[in-house]
Symmetry: none
Subunit: 157 residues, 2 copies
DNA sequence: TGGATATTTATGGGCGTCAATGGGTCATAT
DNA sequence: ATATGACCCATTGACGCCCATAAATATCCA
């Protein structure tokens, strides 16, 4: 599976529908479920979204935590609040009212790639939150320790 | 995959298109995705560019950090701002407006090889930024500690 | 070695296709 | 009835594909 990168802003219509960017949708070709899993972020005022296969990874990771522990209990909120939203014929999803409310979404919706997941923002909120993050990266000169390349001649299935 | 070296200046047309130098494009032969990932540098007034396989290394490296952690959040800005720009039939890419703005690009665009990545500059800005850097390296006689060749040999200190 | 010719690369513009958007209809569930 | 969701269609505007030309490089031959 590929990666979600970059961002794109699309319109939310009266019916609560919004087109998922073509680039993002393209990564769902091999997915069983043609649609996204969406849940509120508990860090920022945005929604998190991913494919079914990644949601299964989350569930598996939760199982690694001690059964009935506080951590497992708290983090399970992700699964509890996640909605399964199928694409319509045109590649749109319907965002439920409570999701629109928690993310403060109005007429415009910004899709932001985060690798294996992507986020759904009110454009102005994104600029307010992430603009400073870019500045922090600049001033603190954050560096990322890169993994060694997996293999020299990267051949894929 | 080979390495990006040297530099070349090409024209940006009215549509925002610019040819990627043939030398650079040649390194994309074994890539799944025929195009580049471009994102603003947070060190200099230029754009960074790389192939898909390198961007996947970045994403994988981010995944080594805990999900939803602060570090992961800050460093994700690279992935969030990276746009996927495919080559057209002639080997050109379209540079989005905001990228042209952040790098101050006008009619001419300078491609600068940086090994696994390359940069995209306004030619004048490059001369202003990098000229002094070259002078500094010369006067301070900078040295680089080389990694040992991967072929196994003696390991004496 | 020089000059003519062929090949490749860069550049510019027209045009068809497709993604995004908005609205309508029908079935189902409340 | 009213709301919700799945599908269909029409519009528009951006993007990708195509071709035509120019510039640069390589190739060939006298």
């Amino acid at each position: 599976m590929g990666i979600f990168t970059g961002s794109q802003t699309n319109k939310l219509d009266k019916k609560g529908r919004v087109s998922v960017p073509r680039n993002f949708r393209a990564l769902f070709d091999q997915e069983k479920f043609q649609g996204v899993y969406v849940f509120p972020s508990f860090r920022v005022a945005a929604l998190e979204a991913c494919a079914e296969s990644f949601m299964e990874r989350i569930v598996d990771s939760l199982e690694d935590l001690p059964l009935f522990s506080d951590d497992q209990d708290d983090l399970s909120i992700i699964v509890e609040s996640a909605q399964r939203l199928p694409f319509d014929t045109e590649g749109r999803i319907v965002l439920p009212d409570d999701f629109r409310a928690t993310a403060g979404l109005k007429s415009d919706v910004k899709f932001v790639g985060r690798g294996r997941t992507f986020q759904i923002w009110h454009p102005a909120h994104y600029d307010a939150e992430r603009g400073p993050a870019f500045e922090r990266a600049k001033t603190r000169a954050l560096t990322l320790k890169l993994r060694r390349p997996s293999r020299a001649g990267d051949e894929e299935a």
